[in-house]
């Protein structure tokens, strides 16, 4: 068909549109691709690594040691794999080391760099610490007063996220690492060391019966299912976060972008109505015309899809690595699945194809005479506004341009909205994480130090307040802390969400985090069980205490001790307003008022690259979408612009009159974009309460709002400045000739 010779010329003539539409398609699809690839890559790596290295299903400690022959008996009886793990903690001052004797059945280590142990003077250290501190194989490291030669680094499945203490929320690879010595060296240095047990359940294992049996014979001291162990769960949670984000992005950005481009394509086709009418009058069939225009329309889909695939192949690894900054140096393969690449190419292309086809079909339903006169779509009654006002003509023109071209205005609005939304979402993420650090301690209480003791004490400490804190779980084995405090406690936050002080002597209260996770509210009954005895308890919740960072059920020390089967004066935590000179071997963990803040700041530092990439993408979306749309607007307004030039309007005045008509959309676009981003962040935080075991307060600080406004306005004006040249280049005489034709 000779008509197809128009393709090359048409594309060349409207290159800015095809470039910006392809770029938009690419950028928004790329966001989806990158998140999806990162999520699947991490998830797949986690699955394979866990399977290869026999990841535990749970770890537990007992008050009595389980003899080796009994371990075999338990394995046989319950169809489980059970292993005793020996370890020792060493505090070197500048750093702490958790030394393990290598396991044989569960939680095996995998060499990351260097080689495995051969001699007693050798040591393997965890890879994250080695990377962070620049420790290479061959170097010496001191553990327990003796120098060892580092021969390699390793990863192990229950420490892919290197949390030192289970109450921590963020990794520590700067002052804490794991180490392996030969069994002989371990024994010579630490004897039997501390013991805990690792278990992998069989498909048919009755886990409750197993746990009861262990407790009945060996007294369970602690039990932590893999699903409650952040060192393990964070791998798949990160993968899930990426995948969930990818679907969130897909349903929002690419679909809205595709819609935006479809509207622009529709307008471009409508602008060709005279030609379509002429060709139709000449005898071109509907099918031929539909095919002709649809093939124009698929260009942004094909080019954008291909560019996305290429960019995804190049960027997948560095982008995915940004998401792994918090983890031990895992090495997932970030690959683009063929079906995703094919779908990314096919879906937008098909949508553009169909949109163009439907538009041509709709035009061809119109009267050919109307088409030839270019009158289809000019029936704009809504433009009859502000006809009798005294406002400046420029303003009236701007308003009518917006109201009279709803599709175009919507696309411009969408560009501003999407840009502002993405940028604000990025800032909101940073603000929300920062808010956790800033607000957390206020919700904990007024104490500055929380000393978690190794042993149960009785009575009252010499300073500070006594607290008992014990792990319990619900029927789904989700753990929380049962806390017992004296009713005259002043250091722990006991203010309920109703603004009253909790009466611990006569009631049970839960934290807001606990309320959100277990869906238990004031007045409800809450059933839970002891993690060791699995004995069930049911209490009525008398109120909710505002604390989005800790999942706990709180009552008096006596009530808590009764439930746990302990003496009523027991305590294992001391809250203090100042540092206490406690014996270090009595302390399991010290949590200070800056712990959360520091952990969140570390998290922000690690995620900053990802967030700034997000903000950068928002800017590209904003500029490209506005460029594409305003470019389209200039094509449609070419005649008006040329006439203004003829009338003696300077370029400055023309820019002001034509380009500034969109300024009216700037403010609503930004406001709604920011509101949407804040809403999105609130949803995102709500979705992650159970996953992260944290209520992240959706936050957007005034400075972030200001930054969003500045960035969006900057992008908006950049796109307009880029288009000024186009306004200046419009040839008056050519435009007047076109009108004559």
């Amino acid at each position: 068909m000779k008509l197809n010779k128009r393709y090359r010329r048409g594309i060349r003539a409207d290159l800015p549109f095809y470039v910006s539409a392809s770029l938009l398609t690419m950028v928004t699809l790329l966001m989806f691709y990158l998140f999806y690839i990162a999520g699947t890559g991490i998830g797949q790596y986690g699955d394979e690594f866990f399977s290869r290295n026999k990841r535990e299903d749970a770890t537990f400690a007992t008050y009595m040691e389980i003899p080796l022959e009994k371990i075999s008996a338990f394995e046989e009886k319950y169809g489980v794999t059970l292993e005793r793990e020996r370890y020792a903690g060493v505090d070197e001052g500048d750093y702490k080391v958790r030394v393990f004797r290598p396991n044989e059945k569960i939680d095996l280590y995998e060499i990351h760099t260097g080689r495995d142990l051969r001699n007693d003077g050798e040591i393997l250290i965890s890879a994250g610490y080695a990377d962070e501190n620049g420790v290479s194989p061959g170097e010496k490291i001191s553990v327990g007063g003796r120098k060892y030669t580092v021969v390699g680094t390793f990863l192990r499945p229950d420490y892919l996220y290197m949390i030192e203490n289970l109450t921590d929320d963020y990794k520590n690879v700067t002052t804490f690492f794991l180490a392996y010595m030969t069994p002989r060296e371990f024994k010579s240095r630490f004897g039997e060391g501390s013991i805990h047990y690792k278990v992998i359940y069989g498909e048919k294992t009755d886990q409750v019966a197993f746990r009861k049996d262990i407790n009945d014979h060996y007294y369970m001291a602690s039990y932590l299912a893999a699903d409650n162990n952040m060192r393990i769960t964070f791998v798949h949670e990160q993968a899930d976060m990426f995948i969930m984000s990818s679907w969130f992005i897909l349903t929002l950005f690419p679909l809205l972008t595709v819609l935006m481009i479809c509207i622009l394509l529709g307008r471009k086709i409508r602008a060709e109505q005279k030609l379509i009418g002429t060709l139709s009058a000449m005898g071109y069939s509907k099918v031929k015309l539909m095919r002709h225009y649809s093939l124009f329309a698929v260009i942004p889909g094909i080019v954008g899809g291909l560019l996305t695939s290429v960019a995804a192949l190049v960027l997948a690894k560095p982008f995915g690595s940004l998401g792994l900054a918090d983890y031990e140096p895992m090495t997932p393969e970030f690959t683009l699945p063929l079906w995703v690449a094919a779908a990314g190419l096919a879906v937008p292309t098909l949508i553009y194809f169909i949109a163009a086809m439907l538009r041509v079909r709709k035009l061809l339903k119109e009267d050919t005479v109307k088409l030839l006169a270019g009158q289809v779509g000019n029936d704009a009654k809504s433009r009859r506004i502000l006809t009798r006002t005294r406002r400046k003509v420029k303003f009236r023109f701007a308003v009518r341009q917006l109201v009279g071209n709803p599709g175009r205005s919507f696309v411009i609005f969408l560009g501003i909205f999407l840009g502002a939304a993405v940028v604000a979402f990025g800032f909101s993420f940073l603000d929300s994480v920062k808010a956790v650090g800033e607000q957390a301690h206020g919700e904990f209480g007024s104490f500055r130090y929380e000393y978690v003791l190794n042993t149960l004490e009785k009575g009252k400490p010499y300073a500070g307040e006594a607290m008992i804190m014990l792990p319990f779980e619900d029927a789904k084995a989700r753990q929380f802390s049962l806390i017992g405090l004296d009713s005259d406690s002043t250091l722990w936050n006991l203010t309920t969400v109703d603004g009253e002080k909790a009466d611990l002597a006569s009631g049970f209260y839960i934290s807001t985090l606990c309320e959100a996770i277990y869906d238990v509210h004031k007045g409800d009954q809450f059933t839970f069980r002891h993690i060791a005895t699995l004995e069930k308890h049911t209490v009525t919740i008398d109120g909710v205490i505002k604390n989005g960072y800790q999942s706990y059920l709180i009552s008096s020390r006596k009530s808590a001790a009764d439930i746990a089967g302990l003496d009523s004066g027991s305590y294992n935590v001391i809250l203090a307003e100042r540092s206490l000179p406690l014996e270090t071997d009595k302390i399991s963990e010290i949590i200070s008022d800056t712990t959360y803040e520091n952990q969140m700041q570390n998290m922000i530092n690690a995620m900053a690259g990802l967030i700034y990439a997000f903000i950068g993408i928002g800017m590209i979306i904003c500029i490209a979408s506005l460029y594409a749309t305003v470019n389209n607007m200039l094509s449609e307004c070419g005649h008006n612009i040329s006439m203004l030039k003829v009338l003696g309007f300077e370029d400055r005045r023309i820019h002001c009159m034509i380009l500034s008509s969109n300024h009216l959309l700037l403010l609503p676009g930004i406001i709604l974009g920011i509101a949407f981003a804040y809403g999105g962040m609130a949803w995102y935080c709500a979705e992650f309460i159970e996953v992260e075991r944290l209520i992240i307060p959706a936050t957007l600080k005034p400075i972030s709002i200001l930054m969003t406004v500045v960035i969006t306005v900057f992008c908006y004006f950049v796109s307009l400045v880029l288009l000024r040249r186009k306004v200046n280049k419009i040839d008056m005489i050519e435009a007047l000739k076109d009108n004559r034709e």
Binding site: N378, R383, K645, V646, L647, G648, F649, I733, L736, R740
Partner: protein, 232 residues
């Protein structure tokens, strides 16, 4: 002389495809006169009008308007020249569709140094009652009157009309020409009308015939009639 054109040349294209739109045009016109330029399509009359109106520039030659050369002026200076001195009326009106009659005129009045009263000009062209209507709600003749009002509101010294009756029926054409005549008479605006229509030449002071970019004749119209007497 108000308009003085000397050896004006303009070529479009190059090589074998070169077209000489203006091929050594010499032409003068006194202030306040009506000049009708006649010629077939492609004769160069629109090009000449565009050059005089400062929409395009000559390849060579000289063009003086009211004693000032507009040859070689910068784009900015040509814009200022158009803004202050020239009113245009086109065959297809070229009104801004999103503006009402009043606004189409006001948009020019807002940038003019000494605009005429808008009410006066709307009244003079008998379109006052349409002031809140949009161009698409008017007939061709009415639209052309709005275009004339728009051209005249800035009180230009030169009114350039390109086939202003080309898209109008006889009745509308006569009405529009009557207003051109009235404006020329009341405001003393020098008026150049290019047209295919020989009959319009009857109302001119000067009749110029142009063909292949050259002036065939330039004569004073000794039998000038009013627009009402034209046989359109």
């Amino acid at each position: 002389m108000f308009i003085e054109v000397k050896d004006a040349r303009k070529q479009y294209g190059s090589g074998e495809a070169a077209v000489y739109a203006l091929d050594g045009i010499d032409f003068t016109l006194d202030e306040g006169k009506i000049c009708v330029i006649l010629g077939p399509s492609g004769s160069g009359k629109s090009t000449l009008l565009n050059m005089i109106g400062g929409l395009d520039s000559l390849d060579s030659g000289k063009m003086m308007i009211n004693g000032t050369s507009i040859t070689g002026l910068s784009k900015k200076a040509l814009t200022a020249y158009r803004k202050e001195n020239v009113g245009f009326v086109f065959q297809f009106y070229n009104l801004i569709p999103d503006l009402t009659v009043e606004e189409n005129v006001a948009v020019v009045a807002e940038i003019a140094k000494k605009p005429l009263s808008m009410d006066d000009i709307l009244k003079a062209l008998d379109i006052e009652k349409y002031r809140y209507r949009f161009p698409r709600e008017l007939s061709g003749g009415q639209q052309q009157r709005v275009a004339i009002a728009r051209a005249m509101v800035k009180n230009p010294r030169l009114l350039l009309c390109d086939e202003l009756t080309g898209a109008l029926d006889t009745k509308s054409s006569r009405s529009v020409l009557r207003f051109i005549e009235k404006i020329n008479r009341e405001y003393g605006t020098t008026t150049l009308i290019i047209t295919h229509n020989e009959a319009i030449a009857g109302m001119a002071d000067i009749i110029v015939r142009i063909r292949d970019g050259k002036i065939e004749s330039c004569d004073e119209n000794r039998n000038k009639v009013t627009s009402d007497a034209l046989v359109l």
